[in-house]
């Protein structure tokens, strides 16, 4: 444990276990994320010089640049940044709770619940001319409610003198399959317009984000991320297994409930507006783990940065590669993340 330092704050109420090497790597990842964040504003239908982007940030750009960057591009970039962070952190926490490398928000039914709710919303509120009877602005709310309810259902079904990771996972996958079945069925029964609208949501896209949405999502996700970050030591303990954790004095079930609630709210707020962007929740934590190691103190911020990076780059590709056609960001998260992950798996044989 030579490289490891411990930081304790507030009379040891909060503590982090920190690997000095990993901190350096984490800094590099964060700088990279920041760079992509700024560069991302340059790309789009028309390329805008990064210096002009900086000018526009501080309000000195031309009106036209100002309009494109501040009004059109920034909302979706913010959405990509925060949705990516939220999904990746939720994935990292779930992999810690469930102790299974395949765990992700998709596995325990949260995303699938959101998907079913969105398709249901499109089906219920359509009239005979296939146009919606209520405003499409309610769609995110439907996704949020669906994700949260299904998260709760899974937890309740898995509860029997406490929730074991194994039962949580088994109930999670079957409820998830059930929700996907409902989604597929509604998509097939309904008209093609609904199917393609629903397919867009399931793939995940930040295209239609605006400042109003960003104003709701960003504070919510920041608060949730901060909470997650400050209870990482509980995750480190939880990962040791139920018996060890309870003999170390952790109220295992209570902690688990809080952690799952945290994950559900993170995922629900991300997918409500950005759709069920796949792959980030599963792979970002794995990529992060191979770069900075598996102590949650650095793993959580590293996952967040990598998740954000994935979604932002995917969105850049989505709106430039097939221009003028827009491809949902969710299509490219795996297309760019998987090759890199396979490379890591190939090059860096760590257990």
């Amino acid at each position: 444990m030579k490289h490891v330092k411990t930081i304790r704050l507030l009379q040891q109420k909060i503590s982090f276990l920190i690997d000095v090497q990993a901190i350096k790597k984490l800094t590099v990842i964060c700088i990279l994320t920041l760079a992509v964040f700024f560069l991302s504003a340059s790309f789009g239908d028309s390329f805008i010089n990064p210096f002009k982007v900086l000018q526009a940030f501080f309000g000195y750009g031309s009106d036209f640049d100002q309009l494109i960057i501040i009004d059109f591009r920034m909302p979706r970039i913010f959405m990509a940044l925060f949705a990516g962070m939220a999904l990746a952190v939720a994935g990292a926490v779930l992999q810690g709770i469930i102790k299974n490398p395949l765990a992700s928000p998709d596995i325990i039914g949260i995303s699938a619940g959101g998907g079913a709710a969105v398709v249901g919303f499109l089906a219920i509120f359509s009239d005979s001319n296939h146009s919606l009877t209520v405003s499409i602005e309610w769609l995110p709310l439907a996704g949020f409610i669906g994700a949260t309810i299904v998260g709760c259902i899974v937890y309740l079904f898995a509860w029997k003198d406490g929730v074991t990771p194994n039962r949580l996972v088994l109930i999670g996958i079957s409820v998830s399959a059930f929700m996907q079945a409902i989604t597929t069925m509604l998509m097939i029964i309904g008209p093609i317009y609904q199917a393609s609208e629903a397919n867009k949501w399931i793939t995940g896209s930040v295209k239609s984000s605006d400042w109003d949405q960003v104003q709701i999502v960003v504070p919510l996700i920041i608060v949730l991320l901060l909470i997650t970050f400050f209870i990482t030591r509980q995750l480190n303990v939880q990962e040791l297994g139920d018996d060890t954790a309870s003999s170390l004095g952790q109220p295992v079930q209570k902690t688990r409930l809080y952690l799952i609630l945290l994950c559900s709210s993170l995922v629900a707020s991300a997918i409500a507006f950005a759709g069920a962007i796949g792959f980030v929740g599963l792979m970002a934590p794995h990529i992060a783990r191979r770069i900075v190691g598996s102590s949650f103190g650095v793993l959580i911020p590293a996952s967040a940065a990598i998740g954000a990076l994935l979604v932002m780059v995917a969105d850049i590709i989505g709106r430039t590669a097939f221009s003028p056609l827009e491809v949902p960001a969710g299509v490219f998260t795996a297309a760019i993340g998987a090759p890199y992950f396979i490379y890591l798996l190939f090059r860096n044989p760590k257990k």
Binding site: L102, K160, M185, I188, L282, V327, A338, L345
Partner: protein
């Protein structure tokens, strides 16, 4: 309620066989066309070219046979995958089978305008095999040994990659979405007997091989170190399991498209009845898989008659309540 002695396990298997035959009967007799046990019997004894007899002989019987073969194959591969990766969440999908097949079919449809089910079968099989082989290629390369975690992660990454290609193609070609959506949900509707017959040899080889290696699977389940200590040739064994999975799951996806749920959940069902001994687990899972798919297929005909629901949708809808019950009933593991 795990059965303890071999005698009662034998009876459980026998009950399974009877239920499977019964489900096949139901699948042949009931459907949109108005038929009864009487007409079914007559269609065998004195075939008279009437509509009902034609439907029974040319549509329902192939369909029942296909459903039972596909269900059994998927369930067996589920058992193999869960033992190979030591992960209760594993399914044939984890080797990239479904994602690879789905991508190949969507690709062929958009770029070569292929749309017959017969050609889908071979394209899907090819796609499944390529995906699974690349997963194995990645897991076997690198300096360290092939650990279960490595196969799992490589598989998850490859599946995600192919799935994202598919979604990308569909997002840019929305017109094709409608046509291919039904195939992507998995269905045993409208398949001719020839499709089954051309894939059947692979399935039969897979079934027999799975039964032959079942004692060795018990050793593999003990963990890599113990298995090596007991003299199991790990590398060979893992390649063998991979080949069987390609044959069985690749064949299944070729016939019916990617049907989820069975491969992941039926093994857990079977484990609740006969425990973890693969010599019993594999046949039991095969029977349960066949039964579930047959019944789901019958239900798929009735839900929104005269339209049909893809059977992949029904397997999840029928199976989930049972599964939640079983998962809660079993004690702490």
């Amino acid at each position: 309620m795990i059965l303890k002695n071999n005698y009662s396990k034998m009876i459980a298997l026998l009950v399974g066989v009877i239920l499977l035959l019964l489900s096949m009967g139901i699948s042949i007799v009931y459907g949109y066309a108005n038929t009864s046990i009487q007409t079914t019997y007559e269609s065998f004894r004195q075939f008279n070219n009437s509509n009902e007899h034609l439907i029974i002989q040319n549509v329902r019987i192939p369909r029942a046979l296909i459903a039972s073969c596909v269900g059994a194959s998927l369930a067996i591969t589920g058992v193999l995958m869960q033992t190979l990766t030591k992960n209760p969440l594993a399914s044939p999908g984890i080797l990239g089978i479904n994602a690879g097949a789905g991508f190949a079919v969507v690709f062929a449809m958009i770029f070569f305008h292929i749309s017959s089910l017969q050609s889908f079968a071979w394209i899907a099989f090819l796609g499944a095999a390529i995906a699974a082989l690349s997963v194995y290629g990645i897991s076997f390369s690198g300096r360290d040994a092939v650990t279960p975690v490595k196969i799992t992660l490589a598989g998850a990454a490859i599946s995600a990659l192919f799935a994202s290609f598919t979604q990308g193609l569909l997002a840019t070609n929305e017109a094709e979405l409608d046509q291919v959506l039904f195939w992507l949900a998995g269905s045993v509707q409208g398949r001719k007997l020839e499709i089954l017959l051309s894939v059947l040899p692979y399935l039969v080889i897979g079934w027999i091989a799975a039964l032959i290696i079942s004692p060795k699977m018990n050793i593999l389940a003990l963990g890599d170190d113990v298995a090596r200590g007991l003299g199991l040739r790990l590398g060979l064994m893992k390649i063998l399991v991979g080949l069987i999975v390609i044959f069985l799951a690749g064949g299944a996806v070729a016939i019916a498209g990617p049907i989820g749920f069975i491969g992941i959940v039926v093994p857990h069902f079977a484990r609740k009845f006969v425990g973890t001994d693969h010599r019993w687990l594999i046949p039991m899972a095969a029977l349960l898989g066949g039964i579930l798919l047959l019944l789901a297929d019958v239900a798929a005909r009735y839900i929104i008659m005269p339209q049909e629901v893809p059977v992949g949708v029904m397997t999840a809808m029928i199976g989930t309540p049972f599964f939640i019950y079983l998962a809660r009933k079993g004690g702490k593991k």
